[in-house]
Amino acid sequence: MDAAGLLDAYERMAVVRRTEKAAHDLFLRGLVKGTTHLAAGQEAVAVGASAALRPDDYVFATYRGHHHALARGATPEECLAELMSRATGLCRAKGGSMHLTKAAAGMLGSYAIVGAHLPMAVGAAWSARLRGTQQLAVAFFGDGATNIGAFHEALNLAAVWRLPVLFVCENNLYMEYTPIAEVTAVPRPAADRAPAHGIPGEVVDGNDVEAVAEAVERLARRARAGDGPAVLEAETYRHYGHSRADPAAYRPAEEVERWLKHDPLDLARGRLAERGVGADEIARADERARAVVERAVEAAGAAPAPDPREALTDVWADGGAAWRT
């Protein structure tokens, strides 16, 4: 990335970081109901990958998907409004935190059942190939998802059909509260499984936005050229607990510390400095991020609740929900 590109990526990561912080605070204040799965700490995976994708590529994410929605162009306001059950939410308050989706931007959904969206990404890649569009599909998923059957079915089918799909694992070392290493037979849950399906499996520093962008770009080029899918395992760490107010007490202090020192934003900030971007420029990016999220919190908070009649719309393509005459 050149300095401008990296600064842009930095600002995007800062927006994610602040949006997640806002979501966390709003949750604690009772303004976000249900649950949230925050991606603070994992920003570089989403922002780095997005930087390498085309606008018409397809992204499929999980319940921990705020960063992907934002990286693909959803605004903090749309996202927070969804979390706060507002009519202006990305999904008109029907989806919630776990289901952020911005189809118009090729962000084809956040899915809350582990592994389920991997076959969908395969299907989107198949469709791209059938339509001859050179589009790519990317599925983001956690380390825990590599032990569920759908993961393997998706990899094999993608490989056999040589489809343009990337499987990007965000390995943050934990499922909900259980270390992935305790329930996985190989050290690299995603990358070590790729050979079982005849496809390359790479590991990347998931907190290094440039490294992620480089890897995705390279694997994407390969996939678009018809050379088939790939697995990219991004090593990263979540700053919050798994969900809601989980204090993540199950994580050793020194592990947390080590990873906090390897913060994707700090890393990018250091790189920017190395490339001669001044502290003031970085501060302005931070300030823009702060402002956009602050305005988003306000605007989302001020938005109306959904019309109750919306509960009975959108089941069917005709807009309705009638199941009988």
Binding site: R92, A116, W126, L130, A137, W323
Partner: protein, 326 residues
């Protein structure tokens, strides 16, 4: 076209007609290509449409249905085959939790125009894991349309409607009907989803049937006719949309109702039909409502045993007699 067509051939015909009409219709499934399907319901498709339209898959039901969903979200109209309807269980997450919910939970941002075709039901002696009538599984999940044709013409007409539908449709093809024959459908034949058919008129009792139980109900009606009882037979054709208007209109004429279901009594679709009737049609009823349904057991292998647990003409006749005498 010949003057009769089998239900089996009607499946391939229905698929071919839509594939000719619309290049975005593609098929995927196990052994559907070169082999023409294990029930020979996709014979000829690979030859006519080539391998970019007809895709053989590994044994990966989750990947099959998930890939169909992903393709449907991105501009295609995939038709996925799940070989036996029992195996819908292997991709139940996608079918129950993803496909029918994604439009709603994204606030209407996407549509999922796909069809999952599957061979349903008993009668071929395939035992407990290859004989279930699982249309009631699909009924438990809002957001799926459910088609289950009983005749070759309906297979073609409902296949057209299912593939053209912008909503996901589970299309149950009945194994015991594959060899049956019927009038060929005219060109351009489309049977809109959610329209039941009164396939026999009669003033004394309404028999509500679906797929395999339609011919069975008709045979029972013939037998009853000999005893002076005239049964009206309603072929529901779809479970969702469920055409209760036709059922209630028939009940208004007959005042008596029996459902004839292949799925088990517990959790069977007749429960939903009867509960609407016991509410909205209560004043129309002159007698208890009965359900002739599968017994609440797995399907046994031996014919002598299977007969005990599936609906039969004899069971329908006996129940109707009881009602008529009420």
């Amino acid at each position: 076209m010949a003057d009769v067509i089998t239900y089996r051939d009607a499946v391939a015909e229905g698929l071919a007609r839509e594939m000719r009409r619309d290049a975005s219709v593609v098929c995927l499934g196990e052994d559907i290509g070169a082999a023409g399907g294990v029930f020979k319901t996709t014979v000829g498709l690979l030859t006519e449409f080539g391998p970019e339209r007809v895709w053989d898959t590994p044994i990966s039901e989750q990947a099959i249905v998930g890939a169909a969903m992903g393709a449907a979200l991105t501009g295609m109209r995939p038709v996925a085959e799940i070989m036996f309807s029992d195996f819908l269980a292997c991709c139940w997450d996608c079918l129950a939790n993803e496909i029918p919910k994604v439009r709603y939970m994204t606030g209407g941002q996407v549509t999922v125009p796909l069809v999952v075709r599957t061979a349903n039901g008993g009668g071929l002696g395939f035992g407990a894991q290859h004989s279930q009538a699982t249309e009631n599984w699909a009924l438990t999940v809002p957001g799926l349309k459910i088609a289950a044709p009983a005749t070759p013409a309906d297979v073609v007409g409902m296949m057209a409607a299912a593939i053209r539908s912008d909503d996901p449709v589970v299309f149950f093809e009945h194994k015991a009907l594959f060899a049956t024959k019927g009038a060929p459908p005219p060109p351009g034949h489309v049977v809109g989803l959610g329209r039941a058919a009164v396939v026999r008129e009669g003033a004394d009792v309404t028999l509500v049937a679906l797929a395999s139980t339609v011919p069975l109900a008709l045979r029972a009606a013939d037998a009853l006719s000999g005893e002076g009882i005239e049964a009206e037979v309603v072929d529901l054709r779809c479970l969702v949309p469920l055409d209760m208007a036709t059922v209630l209109a028939s009940l208004a004429r007959t005042s008596r109702l029996v459902t004839v279901e292949e799925n088990p009594y517990q959790g069977g679709w007749g429960g939903t039909v009867v509960s609407v009737v016991a509410d909205e049609g209560f004043d129309l009823l002159d007698a208890p409502v009965r359900r002739v349904a599968g017994e609440c057991v797995p399907l046994p292998f031996a014919d002598a045993l299977e007969e005990q647990v599936v609906p039969t003409v004899g069971k329908v006749v006996a129940e109707v007699r009881r009602l008529a005498a009420y």
